[in-house]
């Protein structure tokens, strides 16, 4: 537990001493590494964690650099802006504000892009901004702006490499700490769900569009800060360092370092910067000639690295450092999260009336009606292709009926997105398990409590959310114990057996404190013992007043558990009643046994 602190401490001490030990040139290199790492860190968040590939970060670096360059060198600023040119610290504020505004504008356009459209969108605005820098005469055109002043700090002027070094690395370390904190929080779990888990996250009440915007803006701000430092270190800006080629190089650094890891940013920036330097120093004397050999060897080396380390270099390096992930501790004294008041047993919770859903000429659901009451378990069964999943989608609000209506707690479901429905108290599992395989079971379940807590990005980043976080984790742990996965709490969710993953989904749904539980084939893949335990749990929930709707194939499981059964075939309800009645119903028997597939 203390080992990681030691390693970190040693690392920080080393950083502090660098200007004293290393030659000034290596300090210069470290300055560049720090600047690059800051941009790469944004990409770790955006691309590695959030799954949004951006080629355009260099343009945001340019925005930061150009804002400060233009303001601090201008001699004839309009009166209302004159205050900004007086100190680089003020231009940093202006730059960050400007970048935030631009990022929100660009983001609100391009983040709507899905799949492969997004990376191209980032190339598009990356190139546009780059050429704008070059064509605007007030920004020095292609030739650039020189004479940018050095940064002053508490009476010092940071005009030498060894001085600005401390500022750059302080910025970077703060950025890393903030990012690290952010990822380890309620908002962070929402962000980590963006890559491959958006549908699930939305169903748990996460506003994923907002989360995408959040990381987009954070990445842009990091790039902007890097640009600000760059301008005052270099004292000169022109468009070439902010082109798409460089934007691609930042992505390159993040991926080579390890796009999924905060430390990957430093590793990637460091390896690429130092490697280029070494190649430049050594290749000419090795080959006896200078030329384009550096780029050739560099490109091929990078391919080799990626062949050997797809996840980037950090996961490999991490094994060499005596640091293991710290287990989360569950604070038993944390105050429980607030609970909703469950409706009284017997109260009508869910009501579907004459639901019909057509896809073109195909009628998937025809005049389906059903209702679920508090303290009751209803099963929806039927042979393959009967339209159960379509019905499930109508109820959970994923799809909208062609005619008819679904009402939840008396309010129509149609017209509400998954988030609002989740907020109203409906919580679901998925037929095809949707969880985040590399996250621990505990954190997967904690996503369920998203709507029961409200700490935002800033409080997460600065650790003002710990009390609430403890409450969330305690609740998640409680649900995990309840479903019987306590011994797997700290394992990666992806390492569980399929049946256990389904149980995890139930714990996650429970973590949302719902009054209606929608379970899509919860028993599939479970062993007998596990099924019995699941049945036990569902009975207990029923006794607490929970309303449950189960879509299930496993007849034994259903018949011994539920209160009522609705049977579907060819999109229609063919029977409804108590389990015993259904088992005797001739139409049902015909559907299950007689029908030729």
């Amino acid at each position: 537990m203390r080992a990681d602190r030691l390693v970190l401490g040693a690392f920080l001490a080393l950083l502090l001493l660098v200007p004293a030990i290393l030659s000034p040139y290596y300090v210069t290199l470290l300055n560049y590494i720090g600047l690059y790492a800051m941009v790469a860190l944004g990409l770790v968040l955006l691309t590695g964690v959030g799954g949004l590939t951006s080629f355009g970060q260099a343009a945001f670096v340019g925005l930061g650099a150009y804002t400060t360059a233009a303001l601090t060198t201008a001699t004839d600023l309009p009166a209302w802006l004159a205050w900004a040119g007086t100190s680089p610290w003020l231009t940093l504020v202006v730059g960050l504000l400007l970048t935030a505004v631009v990022a929100v504008l660009i983001g609100s356009l391009t983040l709507k892009l899905s799949g492969h459209f997004l990376p191209l969108g980032t190339i598009a605005w990356g190139i546009s901004l780059y050429f704008l820098f070059g064509t605007m005469e007030s920004l020095g055109g292609h030739t650039g702006i020189s004479g940018i002043p050095a940064i002053g700090l508490l009476g010092w002027t940071l005009d030498e490499g060894g001085e600005i070094y401390y500022l750059i690395w302080a910025f970077l370390l703060v950025a890393m700490l903030t990012t690290h904190n952010l990822l380890d929080s309620r908002e962070g779990r929402a962000i980590r769900a963006l890559k491959g888990g958006r549908i699930m996250a939305e169903a748990m009440g996460v506003d994923t569009s907002r989360s995408r915007m959040v990381i987009f803006v954070i990445a842009a701000l990091l790039a902007c800060a890097s640009g600000w430092l760059y301008a005052h270190m270099q004292r000169f800006v022109n468009p070439t360092p902010f082109g798409v080629h460089i934007g691609i190089e930042y992505l390159f650094m993040a991926v080579v370092g390890g796009a999924g890891y905060v430390w990957g940013a430093i590793v990637g920036a460091g390896v690429i910067t130092v490697l280029k330097q070494w190649l430049q120093n050594w290749l000419p004397s090795l080959l006896g000639a200078t030329g384009s050999f550096e780029t050739i060897v560099f490109g091929l080396l990078m391919v080799l690295v990626l062949h050997r380390a797809r996840e980037g270099l950090w996961p490999i390096l991490k094994k060499l450092v005596p640091v293991r992930a710290v287990r989360k501790t569950i604070d038993a004294d944390a105050e429980p999260l607030p609970r909703r008041t469950l409706p009284k047993a017997g109260e009508l919770i869910l009501e579907a009336k004459d639901v019909t859903r057509r896809f073109g000429g195909l009628i998937a659901n025809n005049n389906m009606s059903l209702e679920v009451r508090a303290g009751e378990i209803l099963a929806l069964i039927g042979p393959n292709g009967a339209g159960k999943s379509t019905m499930f989608n109508q109820i959970s609000g994923v799809d909208t009926p062609t005619s008819g209506e679904v009402r939840f707690l008396g309010k129509p479901v149609a017209g509400h997105d998954s988030r609002e429905i989740a907020r109203m108290g409906m919580s679901r599992t998925f037929q095809h398990v949707r969880l985040l395989p590399t996250m621990s079971v505990l954190e997967n379940v904690a996503i369920g409590a998203h709507l029961r807590s409200d700490k935002g990005v800033l409080s997460s980043a600065w650790r003002l959310d710990r009390a609430e976080e403890a409450r969330i984790l305690k609740e998640a742990a409680r649900q995990i114990e309840r479903v019987g996965l306590a011994e797997h709490m700290y394992e990666e969710a992806g390492s569980l057996a399929l049946g256990q993953q389904r149980i995890l989904e139930i714990a996650r749904a429970l973590c949302a404190d719902p009054c209606l539980l929608l379970l899509d084939e919860p028993a599939a893949g479970l062993r007998l013992k596990e099924k019995e335990a699941l049945g036990e749990l569902l009975r207990k929930l029923r006794s607490e007043g929970m309303a449950t709707l189960i879509v299930e194939h496993d007849m034994d499981f259903v018949m011994s558990l539920v209160d009522r059964v609705v049977v579907m075939e060819f999109g229609q309800k063919i029977a409804e009643g108590l389990p015993d009645e259904i088992q005797q119903n001739p139409a049902v028997l015909e559907a299950y046994l007689g029908g030729v597939e």
Partner: protein, 382 residues
């Protein structure tokens, strides 16, 4: 075996470089790759022709490529000054990179000789630019030659097309200023990227204002595309280019479409045809012969000459700096700077350099001549 020997030799060389006694170290930053590679490569080829002893001291050169990127140029300049402790920097190829390196030169108090065109590199003179010199003619000097020719030939309306980069931009600024002073109207101003595969749109726009002449400000073979397109579209009037195109590749690519093209060049391009009385003929010819012996007949270009002239300046300045101090010290660098500033009437391949405290270029009108492409080759205009 062979590889091993090479490796050992390389290691030996590396050690030799670090352990040798007092020698003059020259750091070179140039754009051997990236968009400015066609400028940087002749410069790189020239560096190996520069003198290896000056004033009895050995001279060693460390050449670094900045990939046409300012960040890398500055990084390299820092390495050369801080790590290698060079006595002087030559570089870089492009104006933005040179401008960015000015701060490093001033901070480390190392004299620097730029090979880029923009006048902004050495003017207006200030505390930083004290350390910076340059060898290429200013855009303004070259532009005035073109403007002179235009007004002599009754050109009243000109269409301008230039690279969408610092090169095209520098030319446009100077050209427009001088043209307007002479009463010549710049009726259309277009841009193109060196890598563009088509400039039809720009060409049509240039022609649509019915100009008396078209001026193309680009360097190397990319400059041929607008000219070919203009001719293809039926433009018959005179076309002016800059000295940036003066190499054989341009003639080869442009072919018959470039007959009659007018451009100003440094004397180096025309060294053989200059009258013997021309003050730069001998010094230019010396470079041309040396370069072509190493790289093939007709391979010479103005850009290599800028690197050569950096060597010429050093050859002129180093001996006087050596009188007082040994190389490898701050005092030597300061003495070298002073000596460079004191260079008078030194003939290089580009022109005659006479520096002063205010003028760190020191070239005059002897540094350019107007020429025409005739019968597929360069010929002097009378």
């Amino acid at each position: 075996m062979k590889l091993r020997n090479t490796l050992l030799a390389a290691l030996g060389l590396a050690f030799a470089a670090t352990t040798a006694q007092a020698e003059i170290k020259v750091g070179v930053v140039l754009s051997a790759t990236g968009p400015a590679a066609s400028l940087g490569i002749p410069e790189k080829n020239t560096i190996s022709l520069l003198p290896t002893t000056i004033g009895g001291e050995k001279v060693s050169y460390i050449v670094l490529d900045d990939a046409s990127d300012t960040t890398t140029a500055v990084k390299n300049a820092r390495k050369l000054t801080v790590e290698d402790g060079v006595d002087v920097i030559i570089g870089s190829t492009t104006s933005p990179a040179s401008l960015a390196m000015v701060d490093v030169a001033a901070e480390t108090k190392t004299p620097m000789i730029s090979m880029a065109a923009s006048a902004r590199i050495v003017a207006p003179m200030d505390d930083k630019k004290r350390w910076v010199f340059k060898t290429p003619q200013n855009d303004q000097q070259m532009a005035s030659a073109i403007i002179g020719h235009m007004s002599a030939n009754n050109v009243k309306r000109v269409s301008f097309i230039g690279f969408a980069n610092a090169y095209g931009e520098g030319w446009y600024e100077q050209f427009k200023k001088l043209a307007e002073a002479k009463g010549i109207e710049v009726a259309a101003s277009e841009r193109f990227n060196p890598a563009d595969t088509s400039v039809t749109g720009q060409a049509l726009k240039l022609m649509s204002v019915k100009p008396d002449a078209v001026f193309i400000a680009g360097s190397g073979t990319p400059s041929a595309l607008p000219q070919k397109t203009l001719r293809e579209r039926g433009y018959k009037g005179p076309i002016y280019q800059t000295h940036g195109v003066a190499n054989n590749d341009f003639l080869r690519i442009c072919g018959k479409d470039c007959e009659g093209t007018l451009l100003p060049v440094g004397p180096v391009q025309m060294a053989r045809s200059l009258p013997d009385s021309h003050p730069v003929k001998a010094s230019a010819l010396a470079y041309v012969e040396k370069y072509e012996a190493a790289n093939g007949a007709g391979s010479v270009s103005s850009f290599g000459a800028y690197a050569w002239d950096a060597g010429v300046l050093l050859e002129a300045a180093v001996p006087s700096a050596l009188k007082t101090v040994k190389p490898g010290s701050a005092e030597f660098r300061a003495a070298l700077r002073d000596a460079l500033e004191g260079v008078k009437e030194v003939a290089g391949a580009t022109g005659i350099y006479s520096m002063s405290a205010e003028d760190h270029l020191g070239l005059d009108d002897r540094s350019r001549v107007m020429i025409e492409i005739r019968n597929g080759t360069w010929s002097l205009l009378k």
